[in-house]
Amino acid sequence: MADLATRTLPLRGFHGSSATVRLTPAPPASRLSLRARPEAVEALSTALGLSLPTRPKTSATNAARHALWLGPDEWLVIDALDTDLLGMAAAAGVLHSATDISHRNTAILVDGPGAAAAINVGCPQDLSLKAFPVGGCSRTVFGKAEIVLLRTGETAFRVECWRSFAPYVSGLLAAGAVDASH
């Protein structure tokens, strides 16, 4: 019997902060790609312990758990704890699709007065608080990668991307962080 395998994180050792932006690899999290029709939303919300958002570009949060509206029948559920989200969704007993993507995605936390400018290096969306308020979220592009953006504070964002894009996304964010301080 071999030793229990341990995790090797995609962004281990990454640094890229500047005078106005702090970049931090997010710790591992449980993630679920959740798909369902409107009639299943209530039961799934109860099962997951938060109200799945039904308005575009919005998210819901309960403690360490976030549910991000990505499309009219699609949510990204992120839980900072090691949680069996798949099992919780299954317990709802309603028609849905849930796929574990905990290892597919990784995230970078972008924080500081230059955070929006750093992200705007590659993201064409309007990141003013009016257009993209705290709690706002969207799948979008970041340079030549696809990301999911969640605004966690006035000057704080979580940038989710597929793991193999993490070096590119973090590298471009680091370039943006430097630019945002000039």
């Binding site: 995790r7 090797t8 705007n120 290096v121």
Partner: protein, 1010 residues
Amino acid sequence: MSGAHRTANAASMGGANRLPGKGRLTPARTARFTFDGRTYQGLQGDTVASALIANGVHLVGRSFKYHRPRGIVSAGPEEPNALIDVMRDNARRQPNVRATVQEVFDGMTVASQNRYPSLTFDVGGINNILAPFFAAGFYYKTFMWPKQAWKSIYEPRIRAAAGLGVSPTEDDTDAYASRYAHCDVLVMGAGVAGLTAALAAAGTGARVILCDEQPEVGGALHHDTGVMIDGQNGYDWAQAAARRLAALDNVTLLTRTTAFGYYAQNFVALAERVTDHVSRPDRTAPRERLWQVRAKRVVIATGAIERHMVFANNDRPGIMLASAARTYLNHFGVAVGRKVGVYTAHDSAYEAAFDLHRAGIAIPAIVDCREQPGSAVLAEARALGIEVLTGHAVTDTKGKLRVSAMSVRRVSGGSSARSIAIDALITSSGWTPSVHMFSQSRGKVAFDAETQRFLPGIYAQDCISIGACNGTTDIAATLGEAVDAGELAAQAAGFAGGARLDLAGTQAFAWTGGMAGAAYGAGPEDDVKAFIDFQNDVCAKDIRLAVREGMHSIEHIKRFTTNGMATDQGKLSNIHGLAIAAETLGRGIPEVGLTTFRAPYTPVTFGTLIGHSRGDLFDPTRKTSMHEAEEAMGAAFEDVGQWKRAWYYPRPGEDMHAAVNRECRTVRQTVGMFDASTLGKIEVVGPDAAAFLNLIYTNSWDTLKPGRCRYGIMLREDGFIYDDGVVGRMAEDRFHVTTTTGGAARVMHHMEDYLQTEFPHLNVWLTSATEQWAVIALQGPKAREIIAPLVEGIDISNEAFPHMSVAEGRICGVPTRLFRMSFTGELGFEVNVPADFGPDVWNAIRARVEAVDGCAYGTETMHILRAEKGYIIVGQDTDGTLTPDDASLSWAVGKKKADFVGIRGMKRPDLVRDGRKQLVGLLTKDPNVVLEEGAQIVADPNQPKPMTMLGHVTSAYWSENCGRSIALAVVAGGKARLGQTLYVPMADRTIAVEVSDMVFFDKEGGRIHG
């Protein structure tokens, strides 16, 4: 004295022509720079042009075609002549910089361009003497024959002689930045109009971006000292306004920032020069920054550009725009000469003369081709005692490297020419509103007959032009227009309220006059060089020649003469050229029409456009989670799309061939391990999952039981193979679909397309899971014994877990989806684990593999092993024109199915006819010869050319396991040719091949079930 770095004399205060008490620069803040090896002193805030003129240097370049000595014409971005090379070091060097825009900094190195061996003596000047042979269009006519000579003789010589600057040869080490920005109101230009509009818009709380290409705001107030706003000198008011704006949270004020491109839906590109003026820039700062701005409303306040007078020899150094002389005097404190002649058709030049006169500069005469200049300026000139020659023209100039005299004549004729000694000549034929950005926005300009100007006409976007670019010259009118525009723009963007901005302004003189085209003495009968386009050496007579040669469209005239096609894009010349063309054609200016304004407004560096997209950030490089573990084993990698994949694992002393042969042998003899993580994976979930896959794949999925997997192929609707892969059924309502590495994204798109738009009634959803899983393939007779002790919860015996099985359990203590499958023809497993566990599981398996003398193998070995079994690679052996039958995959098409994507397409007449190209095996008659992929195949190598080609080789390898070369190929009617001899003609020989089936190894196929 070449190479001597001498300091110019009289460099105190930054040059001998710097006037004490004049200008806005600080005398104590000096900056030393070199120009063509000689050291000069300027002041911080100087442009290279102002610093050179301060030091008495007017000659800065040679013209493009005739190599005529040229001087500084303007004080702004419209400069046609003063193009220089600015160098910090060999890597940080930029040619074709406009000296009138580039600020000096201490220690900068500047060189002139387009001269050999030196600026004052240039052998290319012979072109000036040969000018009769260099008329417009000469390139098209003279160098047509002989054809071969163009590439070998004419083009290289012309390029060398007519070149602009020299490109740097080293990689640029500067950083460049780029960002997207959004605002409610974007204001282009921070002169009186732009500043006022920005103040008005900002007062409502709207988000405002105000940009201006100059280092400081003020626009025309740089030269026009006659404007008072709110009781303050205009320039001082502008600086105070800028400070107010900069202090507001809702305003971004960008100086040294040019709006250069106006695209659809108010998408505007700005180029910000961040460090080009800094002596020792912070190396982490970008040199330039591209702003991609999306504005709800745009206010265009880009001002106007003065035009020169068109007369004989109007291009000598020292001849410049009147407003430029005024800028050099009033802003930089520099006198452009000591005896300055004035030649004008517009009142504005008088104000330049007045300012120079008051600064103690002699104005020998104001030559005005009009009989009746504005009465106010005329009266002021007389009051100051300046001679005004109305109804006169300058018909020639003298001076080799600097103008020394002008010949003046009465326009009505009669009098003889009078020569007046001068050392500078300032001219103005009026002002051209800068409608560039308006026109780029697709707005239509309209010709204003009264003022003979093109002005903004019909708007195409949510923008408005104000101030001089809108034809408004009166200061009070400009202020009113700007306040209205700023407030309206903000209102339209959803902001209202705030007290109305109330500004009062006065100006010294209201201007009249203006002309376009050639002045007296440069008409159709006059054989003189009266330049309209300095940069491309286009004269008035060239336009007339173009019309005579049959060019009647302004677009053709432009291309024939190259008028307006230089890097300045004809900012000075277009209107003159158009007027001359219209006159020659006997038509009105509006009927001839303007040429199209295109981005960029002024040249933009490649660095600015590229921004961060270089090096590692040019394109994402995707690596699997096991990449570093493979690197540690010495893997060589190959690019597969954006992915890096382990290609082969050479051991010390092995070349690629030896490594691959060893890997191929090892897999079939013992065991090999392979990183298959990059294969696309799609989780298909829902009660209708099987029904959906039935429609997407040719195969039938109803019969596939949970725990089993199947090879599937999918077609496009046209019946051609689109992708393939193994699909595992994890549960009744859950499938694990794999795709090719390159097909992952497009297959997902293809499946979503059908699901959302054709089969939306199905209860099924798709999720990309490619990167959720690290995949380690174990292939070879010992594969089972390698993983057996690591696996928990799955009986992997042959009986319980036969070929094409899938199960969930644990490996190395972590969750796995374990597939029993093979892309080699050997006993095989594919271990899927959550990606973060990949490296640990890889290393655990590696230890066991190496203990039995197995090895890791890369993509090259994978390719060979699958070819030995005749397994195709979609995209290599197929090219989007192969049907399942062409690829001998008819067995994978469900015969009883009523529908699937491609079911009708694959029955099209052309897809079922005889003689189609079909995939077959090829065996070279000489087993040691390996064919080239892509090589063409013929039946008879002796037939005349062009030969009838039957097909081509799609895969070809040396197979160590077969002890010979193998190949796959598409061949017309291939399946009916088994056993036939065909030929592959190569450049140096013809290779005979025999058509075979596609399975070269273990034809019985027993090993896979081992």
